[in-house]
Symmetry: D2
Subunit: 259 residues, 4 copies
């Protein structure tokens, strides 16, 4: 039986006159020297990112920040109308929606790519095809594929993958994603686009972001966009119009009598 790990933190320490973060002096080594993106990478990967890693990470974060009235944005708008004093509540409630269905799928796609790579590295054959076929047979969407609006291709994914290539960051995970895309089209018998969350999942793996940080990165990205929605709601309110439209969209019927 493995020894139980003692609780310990390596994140930060502070005293009356100093703050250390990740082993560095916040005041002298980080403030004014690290960008937000540098610091996000540093806090999750344990080192300062290279210039190319920063460029990839920024591209991924910028992509997911804003896509108009996503469910997270609608929730944030309704919330700031209900609790106008607390913008952090509006942001947090929007972020709660970054789960398995919407932008949180970055994580599921990355997990799938990691699993595929592991099986291939272990010598297993036809892994990519098998994954595609098994999803097609069970009619399950493949994480990182398909989009309700963007057809035939998600332009964000196309751009991100080009950008990864132009930066020389189209390593094994990007290649696996592209291979998977071919097999998905074949197995489903039609073209299904790689979407933005798929490209981001692969690219964050390329820059060595741990898979269990990836959904968090989606949340960080979207958090920035939600601040913009709060400002717009305060200037030109839409929440009441969305609320009224929501009510009007769902007709009432009497329930069937029971019991």
């Amino acid at each position: 039986m493995a020894a139980k790990k003692e609780p310990v933190t390596r994140i930060a320490k502070s005293d009356a006159t100093s703050v250390f973060v990740g082993g560095r002096d916040l005041v002298n080594d980080l403030i004014g020297k690290y960008s937000y993106t540098d610091m996000l990478y540093f806090l999750t990967c344990g080192r300062k990112p290279s210039t190319q890693e920063v460029r990839i990470l920024d591209a991924c974060l910028v992509t997911l920040m804003e896509h108009g009235f996503t469910p997270s944005a609608v929730i944030t708008r309704l919330m700031i109308d209900s609790v106008p004093e607390e913008p952090q509540v509006a942001i947090a409630s929007g972020l709660l929606a970054i789960g398995s269905v919407f932008a949180g799928t970055t994580e599921q796609c990355a997990a799938l790519l990691l699993d595929m790579k592991k099986r291939i590295d272990a010598g297993e054959k036809d892994v990519v095809k098998q994954i595609a076929v098994s999803h097609a047979q069970s009619k399950q969407p493949v994480p990182g594929f398909g989009h309700g609006t963007h057809k035939p291709d998600d332009p964000r994914a196309v751009r991100l993958l080009e950008f990864a290539k132009s930066e020389g960051m189209d390593g094994p995970y990007v290649k696996l994603l592209l291979e998977l895309a071919k097999e998905v089209d074949a197995a489903f018998g039609r073209h299904i686009t790689i979407n933005a969350t798929g490209a981001i999942g692969a690219m964050l793996l390329e820059i060595q972001v741990p898979v269990d940080a990836i959904r968090g990165f989606s949340a960080v990205s979207r958090a920035g966009g939600l601040v913009g929605h709060i400002l717009e709601e305060k200037r030109t309110p839409s929440a009441r119009a969305m609320w009224n439209a929501s009510k009007a969209a769902v007709p009432y019927q009497d329930p069937e009598p029971k019991g």
Copy 2:
């Protein structure tokens, strides 16, 4: 009576093959060209920031990302232990705590500075002194002043204000904050440090961030730090130790009989 504003959004539009954000083509104009910090500024202030504005914003965001086991971090740690499948829930719950007591005070300090400047610009006399004295008399903390750990000065605030000066960004709000600091010391009869949230409130005003975005920026900043706490909790768990310590810290007493 003012005409009621029609609901409208200027944030984003998308169709099958394109996404526009803030009037720009996301794919061709923003991805790969804007950093996260550029984009955050763009989405809230409506234009690309200057190089100096970015440097100030990054300095502010980096400062608040991490300060060890703040209440928001403790909450995030407990939450990821309770709901391990949903990192966005752990992040969101930590962000809910960015309110009037902790890091959300950036907003209150900025609001105070705006109000002071408005009164001074309108010709009112002794505004700064009055603010300090009235807080001292009512024994109310001045937003952006004082810190439980950092004494006599919050090293983050010192560094941030030096940085603002070195960037030539120590305009009217920074100067007002420094003036307020002198009056606060005089009125309270002892030195009370400008804290990090005070310096950030002033500096975000200098770069023209709207006051109602400022608490949101604190949330965005902290969101990045909380991803790091989730990763550490997954690698070397502390939540159970913190839970046990919390229980042990609060002894039980029988209630007095009633009714």
Copy 3:
């Protein structure tokens, strides 16, 4: 200077074979003997409620549980569509909206009644009229008054106040609310209904619920209703229709160029 209170809890203790809550044996004295409503009262007021207190509390809780697609219900519906695995997240996100604008106004009305009573008991004259007039002059809504749908009267408030009377529970706070209603109509120059949250605020004071529990009671009440919304969303989904309608309700305009 007052002695700092030592942290202590009187709520619950447990060991290997027993659980005590509020000083009583959970297993032998409460389970099977207390209703949910009894227990809610016991945990917040420190004693078992009388039969009449339970009837009043149940009437108040039942009233706020459900009112169709309120903002809290819309948020819960969008959330269970986004994070289908975690019903508690959908409930919690709906409850976040129980603030100063919607159902949380029970608390503000109760606070106003308490303040009025205190001033009257201290011998102040014309308190009720003053409150009404000052709100009318500043065009501020009076907490617990007015409703977007229910006109001329909120039928829930009418019924609740009749019920309070029939139970002999129309004491000083209910009477003050009725007196305030008259002055509000006079001051505003038109009839403004007491709404459900107004009646509930007064009635919870009558049964000695502390004012700082009252918004919590609104949340408890609504929590039950939100479970019903989750079930309906799982059986006959509406969230996507509400999302689409929300998007359609807010037209896009290009932003004005800036910077």
Copy 4:
């Protein structure tokens, strides 16, 4: 392919002078006539519960309301200290923690019992034993079994199951749970208690609560308890002591250099 369901709601309708909930007149048929527990059942099961169903539901709800400083209570206490103006935020954040690890396990136990019953009804043999053995072999905890504090038996579960029997409500799900308990002890080679969430999962199935309402019921139950924690925190604060204890419980170590 099944026809896509049109969005429709059967929950509530209202107009200027009336509110209907579940097809009944809220004002005339429900307020003053239904208890909170009646209404919760009505909104989720579509009919008024019988007297025995109410007694079972109340016993289940009362059991989970309070268990001292659970993670949900600690989170609520920290949150009301950070955002003292918004009790609904403190309640909601505590409820977010009712997931797969703590009180949300009522749902997982109920789902397991439903699955077992289905397989047995379909003629499968040795289902209960298989479940127990497969969990033991994979060293996975059985949902609804085991407790950190309560040993050898969770007194709440013992009492709840006795109560179900005394009410004549110990039907197939309770019996399956008891059978499973025997097989669990045999498979694991030691006694593992049925815990409160296990008993509740079985008993809510007995009264025909849908499985996808069960975690919601845990949240409703706990919501009531959290109001009590908010009140105690306002009267005799513990959050700061818990925060300090949490920090002290996790020593800092410098990170290993990297990159």
